[in-house]
């Protein structure tokens, strides 16, 4: 079969140029190129493109990124505990609320017999304690949510595919 009768090899030319085709396959492609003006023109144009790329100066870093990177690695957001235990804000808040209610109930139900006469006063105090405790746990829940926010600065939405590279 003459080169004119063989299928064009245009899609394989980049591989040939890059030296990724060798042996018999490369010889066959060259034979085709000898007799096929269309493919030869394609080869010449791609060679031209390669030479244009070759004239393009490689962008260079002005300074190594290592010093900045090292500081980041030493920063608080790199603590494994913060990175690995991501607790969604909603779950954190729910846990905090549940813990607050539990403690409030425990505080409220703990009334020594000696203080029975002061029930009304104690009720008032324990309610205040429960409210205070709930506030603390809510704050903790928010903090857990905040951890996630810190983490999301490093793992931005939509580009997490980069993490699972292999």
């Amino acid at each position: 079969m003459s080169p004119q009768e063989t299928p064009h090899i245009i899609e394989q030319i980049p591989a040939l140029l890059a030296g990724k085709v060798s042996g018999g396959e490369a010889d066959e492609m060259r034979r085709h190129l000898d007799g096929c003006a269309d493919c030869r023109r394609e080869l010449e144009e791609l060679e031209g493109l390669r030479s244009i790329f070759a004239s393009d100066r490689t962008p260079e870093l002005a300074h190594s990124v290592w010093p900045d990177l090292e500081r980041k690695l030493e920063g608080p957001t790199d603590l494994p505990a913060l990175r690995q235990r991501r607790i969604p804000a909603a779950v954190g808040s729910a846990l905090a609320a549940a813990a607050g209610i539990l403690i409030a109930v425990m505080v409220e139900s703990y009334q020594p017999a000696a203080q029975t006469a002061q029930t009304a006063q104690t009720e008032s105090t324990s309610t205040a304690t429960a409210t205070s405790t709930y506030t603390i746990w809510s704050s903790l829940g928010s903090s857990l949510g905040a951890d996630r926010s810190i983490d999301s600065m490093l793992y931005t939405q939509g580009d997490t595919e980069g993490e699972g590279a292999r």
């Binding site: 244009i52 690695l73 980069g162």
Partner: protein, 185 residues
């Protein structure tokens, strides 16, 4: 430490040896930066993304299986970051890289030729930025990183034949972009 292979350094990095990571960073930061600069068209973005690439590399070091595919793994992270950045910004930059680093001490003719080359390089970079992201990524990995079709396929999550087709489409498009107005095929 500097004599160790990338795989060995990754193993050590996964064990928390920061020195190993430093060697990897210094070994690979230039090609990663060049790739990202060409992908995004911005040196500033490229620097930030280079740093982020190595940060993620370090944080995922334990998941790396030493099989001699470090370069593919690294450029996959960098490529994904670049594409995410481009999607976030949704802009195309047409301005070529700055020309401030010309060798002004060269003789005039050499300087002229350097400028000519620089202008040509600027046109190529601008043309690259007009390519769809995946075509640009394939071209850069093929042309500048000299990855094999198989390696490019590993980076992009496609087969070698698909790489060949993407490159063909990319070079066809580049040729049209770079053809003189009113000329070309």
């Amino acid at each position: 430490m500097k004599d160790l292979t990338d795989d060995d350094l990754m193993v050590r990095g996964a064990q928390g040896e920061k020195d190993a990571l430093e060697v990897l960073v210094r070994r690979w930061e230039e090609p990663v930066f060049a790739f990202l600069a060409r992908m995004t068209g911005s040196r500033e973005d490229a620097r930030d993304l280079t740093q982020e690439t190595f940060l993620r590399l370090y944080r995922n070091a334990a998941r790396y299986s030493p099989s001699g595919k470090f370069k593919s793994w690294l450029f996959r992270i960098a490529g994904n970051l670049a594409r995410s950045q481009l999607r976030r910004k949704k802009i195309v930059r047409w301005i070529p890289f700055d020309l401030t680093s010309h060798d002004l001490s060269s003789p005039d003719d050499l300087a002229d030729r350097a400028l000519e080359r620089e202008e040509l390089g600027g046109a190529v970079r601008a043309a690259l930025l007009k390519l769809p992201e995946r075509q640009r990524q394939a071209v850069l990995l093929w042309q500048f990183e000299e990855l094999s079709y198989k390696e490019i396929g590993e980076v992009m999550g496609i087969g070698s034949n698909a790489v060949s087709q993407i490159l063909y489409r990319a070079t066809t498009r580049l040729r049209k972009i770079l053809a003189p107005k009113g000329g070309g095929r």
